[in-house]
């Protein structure tokens, strides 16, 4: 049973739409080929029941639609998602749409065996080598203005002038907003993540946040594909206030052209000076240079 690389499938199991029914059907096809299937309903009430399977295999999550219930479930339980597919996207490739009826259409049923094979061969989403796991300790430089203390990391981060950062490790980056955004927006109470799989050009919106005072977009400093969003942040957006640069990360992307993106970005030292000026200037503007 406990062979490594064995697939463990967590389907969305949505009962009310065709996409959900397809994800369930695909999971069953894969189970015939030897994969373990996790029932998302049972898993929710008795997660221990699947502990053995999850420890030994590689987790494939099949979401029906963009709501991503299966992914969310996995994230909530801290599961490492190795592979991922979304039925709506698979359908889109075939120029098909998900139907409203939960009964799978005939032309779609015919596609499923081929899809099952494809999913078996699906590549892992997280890079396994290269240590791109964003675990290194970050140290900060600080400057004070009035009672406010502003923090900027010492290294490893790149900023745009929209006060958003990219923490770059190898081919990947995590994105978020700076301490300045956190302090001027005040208490953040919502984080709306972008879709996993979304292609970002530089300066595209990578999700948005809303505070008690205002709302703003996270404007991506880099181009790439969204590979993960911080599920914890959806639950606890105040992490952006308490730890804007590490625990408050919003989005993880696979970089597509960092070498050229970087020419337009500030490094940590550059942003430190930029922010210092910005805070001062803003104050003068507000109070007329007292």
């Amino acid at each position: 049973m406990a062979e490594k690389n064995r697939l463990v499938v967590l389907p969305c199991n949505g009962m009310d739409k065709e996409a959900g029914a397809i994800s369930r059907e695909l999971a069953l096809l894969l189970s015939e080929k030897g994969a373990d299937v996790i029932c998302p309903v049972l898993y929710q009430s008795k997660p221990k029941r699947y502990q053995k399977e999850l420890e030994s295999g590689k987790l494939l999550v099949i979401d029906g639609c963009k709501t991503g219930c299966a992914s969310k479930l996995a994230r909530e339980h801290g599961l490492k998602i190795a592979k991922k597919a979304t039925i709506k996207e698979l359908l889109k490739e075939e120029n098909l749409k998900s139907g409203k009826s939960p009964v799978i259409g005939k032309e779609k049923l015919g596609l499923l065996p081929a899809w099952a094979e494809r999913l078996e061969e699906l590549e892992d989403i997280a890079a396994e080598e290269g240590g791109t796991c964003f675990t290194a300790t970050v140290s900060f430089r600080r400057f004070a203005f009035d009672k406010f203390i502003f923090k900027v990391p010492e290294a490893g981060y790149f900023f745009n002038e929209n006060d958003c950062w990219a923490r770059v490790e190898g081919e990947r980056a995590r994105l978020g907003v700076s301490d300045y955004v956190q302090q001027s927006a005040s208490d953040i109470i919502f984080f709306e993540p972008p879709e996993v799989g979304k292609e970002l050009s530089m300066f595209d919106e990578a999700g948005s946040i809303e505070s008690t005072k205002t709302a703003l977009d996270i404007i991506s400093p880099v181009s790439g594909t969204v590979t993960a969003v911080n599920g914890e942040l959806v639950e606890a957006p105040e992490l952006i206030n308490s730890d804007p640069y590490v625990a408050g990360w919003a989005v993880e992307v696979e970089l597509s052209d960092f070498e050229s993106d970087r020419e337009l970005l500030m490094d940590c030292a550059g942003y430190f000076d930029y922010l210092n000026e910005k805070v001062k200037k803003e104050y003068m503007k507000r109070y007329g240079g007292k």
């Binding site: 002038e161 929209n162 001027s184 595209d204 205002t214 709302a215 977009d217 337009l264």
Partner: protein, 106 residues
Amino acid sequence: MRFRSRGWLKVSEETFMGVPRGKIPWCPAIDYEKCDYCMECDEFCPHGAFERREGEEKRLVVAHPENCVVFCRVCARTCGPDALSFPDKTETLELIKRLREDEQDG
């Protein structure tokens, strides 16, 4: 969604990415055919890009385009009748890149 403008966020940078802000044509355009003057965008914008004009035909104008934060489009989301539009982002970025080169050359 209603937000009040707060001074703390009010900032207009004289330059953006090393380019004089005035040279970057980034700000919302109001489609007056659609605008119903609900003023939600003005309520929202913490940077003061809009201005209300009592008694005039166009009761809301983009009076301070230079206050608009380049690449920010949040106000458009507050607009029910979808009357706000922005320049193309890719074109704007290309323009900024060209202007940066000019700045460096000149």
